[in-house]
Subunit: 337 residues, 2 copies
Amino acid sequence: MSVRELAEPFAGKKALVTGGLGFIGSHLAEALVGAGAEVTLIDSLIPEYGGNLRNVARIKDAVRVNISDVRDEHSLRYLVRGQDYLFNLAGQTSHLDSMRDPYPDLEINCRSQLSILEACRHGNADVKIVFASTRQVYGRPRHLPVDEGHPVAPVDVNGINKTAGEWYHFVYGEAYGLRVSVLRLTNTYGPHMRVRDARQTFLGHWVRRLLTGEQLEIFGDGSQRRDFNYVADAVSAFLLAGAEERANGEVYNLGGPENVSLLELAELLVELNGGGHFTTVPFPDDRQAIDIGDFYADYGKIERELGWRPATALEEGLAQTLAFYREHGAAYWDEAR
Amino acid sequence: MSVRELAEPFAGKKALVTGGLGFIGSHLAEALVGAGAEVTLIDSLIPEYGGNLRNVARIKDAVRVNISDVRDEHSLRYLVRGQDYLFNLAGQTSHLDSMRDPYPDLEINCRSQLSILEACRHGNADVKIVFASTRQVYGRPRHLPVDEGHPVAPVDVNGINKTAGEWYHFVYGEAYGLRVSVLRLTNTYGPHMRVRDARQTFLGHWVRRLLTGEQLEIFGDGSQRRDFNYVADAVSAFLLAGAEERANGEVYNLGGPENVSLLELAELLVELNGGGHFTTVPFPDDRQAIDIGDFYADYGKIERELGWRPATALEEGLAQTLAFYREHGAAYWDEAR
């Protein structure tokens, strides 16, 4: 089913999206607005994170944008009231930042999740919550592809805190009956992704370098394998997990339609771009310490239970992404300066 | 080996014990002082937690007592400097409290652990750290006895935060070379345990009720099985994990010499006390939601690798515990009023 069809159950419903001006949140907002939902977006617009008002330029008159930080528990208490759905996407995403200074990551990925859940527990226990978690909870894969039964063993502070955030959701589900679903996202890419640096995804940074004529840098020998989801496919999963009652209390991996080495990915990008250069460089020490090696996910559970699968081939998604940033990129990378 | 022998490697060394006025911390302090270590105890003496100056009455002139909270990152930075060992025992232990108000648990069991580790990383990367974790990280057992390979799946906020605290230690070990060992404690009991209420251990509360002529209350049908460590055996494990280099980067379960049902435990206590009464009562809702059913640990790993095993039979440990509180109890339960 298309994103448009998957959004239909949300017609006339009230939906709150944390991180709503961000990469995935803005696409999700667009889908919800398209279906006729009443949408509120919360975003702090912290420059180092993913929020960007340009991401909602097309829907800005159809949504309520509430600039606030999920660490602000008082505003959250008000904002969750009366919502039918809470798509909980706000997060600190940089692994390196979490190692350099662990406190902001703790505040956003742990404390704020507790605040959000406390607000729902006490103010709106009927809301359906979908939480954006990450493959990073698994740490270094012990087997591939990684399914939901793989041990959870994060290797950096961000991974630990995202795991805690995910588990808080389940504990509040069990103890207080909140309806909660968790998606463990793999690398997601597409229009609206952060391209100023690699804080959200290295692929955003690569796209920017490619389109501005700079050389891509691959850490290590480039043999590390990864899988990728085009953003529309991630949005489909959020819509499905939100709408389906059977998703309550469940955690689902997302995963790419194929897996590639970083070297193959760089070659594909250069080819689709019609030119460009890349090189391999030694891992910086701080990245090496928290690198997870190969990773790709088994998304069989969400396929079996909710009928989700990644619909966009990597080549197609990358081509659309390059086209977007070729047209709109200047506005996105300007802000990096 | 006896606690006295196990403490010998610490002669002349500097050791810091967080939660040092608490139940296990005070016994550990006594062992370290006995060996001739230079011991500093940090404790906040928060009335709801385990610290109590009576616990160190016998060694008060031989230790440095620093009343401070592990949430105070500035004092920690000073206090960790120059220490050879850090026995990191401070924690919020009440599962119910963590569900009623999750923030203090987050601050103590997550944020403070990061502060302690940041203080070591930047101010004393050579210190050896032993962290007190808990069986609660496993949640509801999927098999018994529970070994370290059992999935980590905590069922309440306290369990989640203790898991995060444990994992921070390992991440700082991996990324910054800190020497870290983690012990996952099962139910520990003995002199100095909190008896005012069940915040630290239900057994402390039982002992107080028994000795003051009140009826013990067993939640559920009393068939739940548990294992118990006498405090001297837990102290042995901390000393071993601190002294042994091969314990670095490792997590070890502690576990009792036997497992018993709560009904059997109550019968044994009444018998040892020469009288008393108990009854079963339905689980209160808030406890039922986070109850884990049967639990007992497989301590084979620490037995194989470090030669630890619980030396004190349950009957013997309980008899010593009853004797202690019969003599000193009034002073301990007075404070509950």
